[in-house]
Symmetry: C2
Subunit: 247 residues, 2 copies
């Protein structure tokens, strides 16, 4: 049965309605760690549990638009458009993923620099940037969605300049290294990282400026860079190979 035939014979009374939502995995780096934007549910099911921000798509609203709206609503911040990178992650539609009805969720992945604390939306009990890692179990299948988002983020850092989305307008090579170390969860060789970043065409460009002072615990002033015009890193910046991933 193809799409047109189904729709021609579709009777909403025969097939139960399907709800479509967007859920957003918004990641940032804060307090030295990777954090995800979560809201605490105020109502059943899973009342009191933390969940990814998300909600029903509205008529006439495109999917990325719905994701951006949910993110803006939940952070209580507007005008994020040019500071936050957002992309589609995956869709989840297991029949019983929501106990009330059939819900298909399109998830989006967002990379944000350190933003102000979110204000809980009108409906959520709370909202916060929570450190990933020792998180409580999330509502619905949001654990799985978050895990998927984290893995995607780790991979994207390898071959795209998205790490700069976690940094401010200008940044030092060390700060950029901190992004990689935080997201990948591994320490990197400072010298080799420095060489690599500067050798990839279009990754970063120099501002000609340096930091105002040295690091908190010493060291010279670092040169400042801004994101370059590359959309792909070539050659890519590969994570240390993990044998268990390969087989």
């Amino acid at each position: 049965m193809d799409e047109s035939e189904f729709l021609a014979g579709y009777d909403p009374r025969v097939y139960p309605a399907v709800a479509v939502t967007v859920d957003v995995v918004a990641l940032t780096i804060r307090g030295g760690g990777l954090r995800v934007l979560l809201i605490r549910r105020g109502e059943q099911p899973h009342a009191g549990r933390w969940a990814l921000p998300g909600g029903f798509i509205r008529p006439g609203e495109d999917l990325p638009q719905a994701a951006a709206r949910e993110l803006a609503e939940e952070t209580g911040l507007s005008g994020l458009g040019d500071r936050v990178h957002i992309e589609q992650l995956a869709s989840y539609g297991t029949p019983d993923r929501d106990p009330r009805m059939r819900v298909v969720s399109i998830s989006y992945l967002a990379f944000a620099p350190d933003l102000p604390d979110p204000r809980a939306g009108t409906d959520a009990a709370d909202a916060a940037w929570q450190p990933v890692g020792k998180l409580p179990e999330l509502a619905f299948d949001h654990d799985r969605i978050l895990a998927h988002g984290l893995e995607r983020a780790r991979g994207k850092l390898e071959y795209t300049p998205l790490a700069t989305s976690f940094a401010g307008e200008t940044f030092t090579i060390s700060e950029l290294r901190g992004v990689y170390e935080t997201v990948w969860g591994v320490p990197l060789h400072a010298g080799n990282f420095h060489r690599k970043i500067l050798s990839v065409p279009g990754f970063v460009e120099s501002t000609g400026e340096t930091t105002e002072s040295g690091g908190a615990r010493g060291g010279p002033r670092a040169k400042l860079y801004r994101a370059g015009d590359a959309r792909l890193l070539h050659p890519a910046l590969l994570r240390p190979a993990r044998e268990e991933q390969i087989r």
Copy 2:
């Protein structure tokens, strides 16, 4: 507004229904070129136009299950499970992508070895493996979905052993090189490719056999291999860098 709150107040008479479909980009290599499985629509809209196989998800049916079902129905073949790799591609939900109603489509990408000709399903006017490239304009936004699938396929060949999904149970290094050349659309250096394939752990394993005879136009018998147990290629097999992709 979060998911639960919306759903609690959701009234189907206020918001128009959303239909959820799956569409499948099934790729194979045939006649020396890359081909995609298309069906010809028998009904309006876009009657007579070629489109990706797909259809409405059924109650109680998971998304990958729906995609596999549609693929099996449209090819008229069963028991493809172990020969066809299938994975989620992306979702499309632009409000007016279907003129009749709001339709959100979850697309899936399938990699198949050379299969028998498809039989048109009960509803489609025709079904065929069509060479990608000089295709007519497809129905709906299926051009965009196909383009996305092709790009994903090209990328996946770099860091996963999926090329073996286009080959038979056993294959020669040259056949595998043919897969890469066909999907990437570039000629590869035979010697370097050979060295690379054998040096990536777990990509292929020898069967100890050779082909029955040399190639059609001469050459020695080639050793036969089967897919190995690697899930990721390390180091990856990178396409020749295309400058325009980077910026």
